[in-house]
């Protein structure tokens, strides 16, 4: 027995895998640039705890949506309907609440039901009708936006003060929304890493045939991933309703939550082909995104130039991974 043990070389204690650490490196770089920008321009007033929280707070809706998007991208699908769903949720929730605190729970329940329904529809169109996910969710997105526009064109309903706690409340000096975001990320990460469902998600995205031959119900996994994604978008919608104190049919499209949620997932190291990546990468991606915005603000970059630079940064980040890791990235 001891002979066997001696024969087995010790596994390398730590193998540095560039592609797994790249998002963290990028985040470090972004933090460094932010610090440098603040110091160089003499705006050291931004370098404090409150400002850090403010930077994070701007990205809660994007972050929550991106957590959901991570699930669908991991199963090698994609969801373009999140932005419309976010708009629909803000309107639905604030119209049901209509300023009445007693209606908060029914509004949340109705919103989540809408999210689950939209996610199931997305998933079923993709798995049962074999429609490409890009087209399926784009179609669903147009349907949602169309229905919404038929009823409302601007702010609708009102959110009671009690519900505004979601966006504006503090717990132990930290904004509730930030705690909520990290809590959600924690739960999502546990689901992906420590449950059977999570391992099935990676299997289906990594190699659908191998997963099917291992007896995994691949279609069902894709549908559940889409339901999770839509539920996250609904939660992002509830947050925005609380923040706006009302519902708005343009809020989702305005925030470009569909494409930006995909961008932060990819910057976070999850590959579009599926099967590799994770929640913490996405959280890092969201932080990088909001830091980039803050850097531009500190430097006083023009709004249009900002947009151009963001585009370049997204592409450059993905190319950076691809060149360095010599593996498929997106």
């Amino acid at each position: 027995m001891s002979e066997i043990a001696a024969e087995r070389p010790k596994s390398p204690a730590f193998r540095f895998r560039f592609d797994r650490w790249a998002p963290a490196l990028l985040l470090l770089a972004a933090v460094g640039i932010y610090l440098a920008a603040c110091i160089v321009t003499g705006q050291t007033q931004y370098l404090n705890w409150d400002n850090l929280l403010a930077v994070l707070g701007r990205s809660i809706a994007l972050g929550v949506t991106a957590i959901g998007q991570t699930f669908v991208i991991l199963v090698a699908s994609i969801d373009l309907s999140v932005a419309s769903l976010i708009s629909a949720t803000t309107v639905l929730a604030s119209v049901i609440m209509n300023g009445d605190p007693a209606m908060i729970l029914p509004a949340i329940a109705a919103s989540l039901a809408l999210g689950a329904f939209v996610g199931a529809i997305n998933g079923l169109i993709i798995t049962r009708l074999d429609v490409n996910p890009l087209i399926a969710t784009l179609g669903v997105s147009l349907v949602i936006q169309g229905c919404l526009s038929a009823f409302v064109s601007n702010f609708a309903g009102a959110v009671p003060v009690e519900f505004q706690f979601f966006a504006y409340g503090n717990v132990a000096g930290i904004p509730f929304a930030i705690l909520f975001f990290f809590g959600l990320a924690m739960v999502a990460s546990v689901v992906l890493r420590l449950t059977r469902f999570g391992s099935n998600v990676y299997a289906v995205g990594g190699n659908a045939d191998a997963a099917r031959f291992a007896g995994i119900p691949t279609g069902r996994i894709v549908v559940i991933a889409h339901i999770i994604c839509s539920l996250c978008a609904t939660v992002a919608g509830l947050y925005l309703a609380s923040r706006l104190r009302s519902g708005a049919p343009w809020i989702g499209a305005n925030g470009v939550y569909d494409l930006e949620s995909i961008a932060v997932v990819v910057i976070g190291g999850t590959i579009l082909a599926g099967g590799r990546g994770g929640i913490w990468g996405t959280v890092v991606g969201v932080m990088i995104f909001s830091l980039i915005d803050s850097i531009f603000n500190v430097l006083g970059v023009d709004a249009f130039v900002k947009q151009v630079l963001r585009g370049i940064i997204i592409v450059a980040a993905v190319a950076f991974y691809a060149v360095r890791s010599k593996r498929i990235v997106a």
Binding site: I4, E7, R8, P9, S11, R15, R17, L194, T195, R196, G198, S199, N200, Y202, A203, G206, N207, D209, A210, A211, R212, F213, A214, G215, I216, G275, R276
Partner: protein, 503 residues
């Protein structure tokens, strides 16, 4: 008890449109036995295995497991019944750990959470059954393991699924010497463990080292069955013994052979070592060897897709160095890939468009797509006519054509560029017997018009029948040269490195 076969296939027959793949094949394997299944490419080995593993259903005959007939409708049912197949392409998830792969789809959970410790311990236990498994870390990512270890993970997965029958499809194809030796020890361990192992190979060395019984398949039928280990020569004879008919075009005569068009000296890269040969105009030069011997790597090196890193190459008297296929094509080299559908054709486009693919790629960017520097649409139609491509019309999508006609359309594509050298990889794969002859004659006609032809094929009789000269490759080197019409046994022994063994 031990003599009762675990798995028994009785009178299996399988037909595909136009081809009889298997005819009355019976095959059995007992517990703790290694049964070698040998035969040339296209002999029906993989069809037989696909029937056993539930991918195909037999047209005739039955599969029995543990004395009961079964009818699998899906590979998952075969796996559940205890049949695991390790294909050359592994079905592992590279981005997951060894443990995660082994427990794919049947993870152990406790209170809804994965029980990683338990799974890891079981993985360790299974891996420790094999010498080659002991050095594998259950927490390592599969992508970080070498090929031999990945194969070990597949074997461990099968064992942990309680596989009664393990099929290994040419498992040493991608392994080096030391890894092969370890694999043989693993197979010995499987035999001792009581698993029935069906071992597919065409390397005699492996048969003599491992097999308890040997079954030889040829042309979809049982050619020979040995209840005890025979002399290697008897197996080789059963594998290749067939007549070369007038199926092939006549060989080149001395005055048909022209000046050298292509020569390589000392060509090496990570798959090839010190390649040296000369191809003459009007000659068909065959490259024989087993899978992984470096024949395709050589074609890719000449074609510039995976270039030589050292050595020199001369094309029609000029020293050349290609780092991209575009340069090779421009200089006059054409390649017909072995995977016609994947690498050769745009299936959704017409026959004519497929023919125009390369001429257009080299045309002027702003010129008409109907007329390139090489040929216009009418010229392409004439070439297609000349190749006798049979299609309802040249506007028909090429995917509706038979394999032979698709191949001819690809040849027409190259003819438009008047190539000096044409490389055919597996020219008749997936083409039915009657059309094969047409392809051989086509190759001969191209050679007569002055092109040098390189023919790479895993079908030994076809190389012997069609090539004027045959180079045998093994392990990335050219190991021997044979004249036209050499004996299959002689080439086979060179290609498998069995020179020193019996015969």
């Amino acid at each position: 008890m031990t003599d009762a076969p675990v798995i028994e296939m009785k009178g299996i027959g399988k037909r595909f449109p136009g081809v009889v793949a298997l005819e009355d094949v019976s095959f059995a394997c007992r517990r703790g036995e290694v049964h070698a299944l040998v035969g040339e490419n296209g002999a029906g080995k993989s069809t037989l295995i696909k029937i056993l593993s539930g991918v195909y259903r037999p047209d005739d005959g039955e599969v029995w497991i543990d004395g009961r007939p079964v009818a699998f409708r899906h590979p998952v049912e075969a796996i559940a019944a205890g049949i695991s197949v390790i294909y050359q392409e592994f079905s592992l998830l590279p981005e997951r750990t060894v443990t995660q792969n082994i427990f794919l789809g049947r993870e152990i959970t406790r209170n809804w959470m994965l029980d990683s410790a338990a799974m890891c311990a079981q993985t360790r236990r299974v891996l420790d059954m094999f010498g080659a498994g002991r050095r594998i870390d259950p927490d390592a990512l599969v992508a970080d393991l070498d090929v031999a270890s990945q194969q070990m993970v597949e074997i461990a997965k099968a064992i942990s699924l309680d596989a009664k029958v393990l099929v290994m499809d040419e498992p040493t194809a991608a392994l080096n010497e030391a890894e092969c030796r370890e694999l043989f020890e693993t197979v010995d361990a499987l035999r001792a463990h009581g698993t029935a192992v069906i071992y597919i190979t065409h390397r005699m060395r492996e048969v003599t080292r491992l097999a308890d019984r040997v079954t030889v398949l040829k042309d979809g039928e049982i050619a020979a069955r040995f209840e005890t280990l025979p002399e290697p020569s008897a197996i080789v004879h059963a594998m290749v013994g067939r007549d070369i008919s007038d199926f092939y075009a006549p060989f080149a005569t001395a005055d048909e052979l022209g000046k050298p068009v292509l020569s390589v000296l000392g060509g090496s890269n990570d798959a090839l070592h010190d390649i040296a040969f000369e191809l003459r105009a009007g000659e068909i030069l065959g490259f024989a060897g087993i899978q992984g011997a470096g024949r395709v790597a050589l074609a890719m090196a000449i074609f510039g897709a995976r270039p030589f890193e050292s050595g020199t190459m001369t094309l029609a008297g000029d020293s050349v160095r290609f780092t991209h296929p575009r340069q090779a094509i421009r200089a006059g080299i054409g390649l017909l890939p072995g995977d016609r559908k994947g690498e050769g054709l745009v299936l959704m486009q017409s026959v004519r468009d497929n023919g125009m693919l390369t001429p257009r790629a080299f045309g002027n960017l702003f010129s008409s797509h109907r007329k390139t520097a090489f040929t216009d649409l009418a010229g392409m139609d004439r070439l297609l006519d000349q190749m006798e491509v049979k299609a309802a019309s040249y506007d028909q999508d090429i995917r509706f054509l038979s394999g032979g006609n698709q191949q001819k359309a690809i040849v027409a594509r190259w003819l438009a560029l008047k190539p000096k050298v044409l490389i055919f990889i597996e020219p008749t794969r997936g083409i039915d017997v009657n059309a094969k002859s047409g392809i051989y004659r086509l190759m001969r006609d191209l050679a007569k018009e002055g092109a040098g032809i390189i023919m790479i094929s895993s079908d030994l009789p076809e190389i012997i029948g069609a090539a004027d000269r045959i180079l045998a490759m093994r392990g990335g080197r050219i190991v021997a040269e044979h004249p036209s019409g050499a004996s299959e046994t002689a080439i086979m022994l060179d290609a498998t490195g069995e020179q020193e063994a019996a015969v």
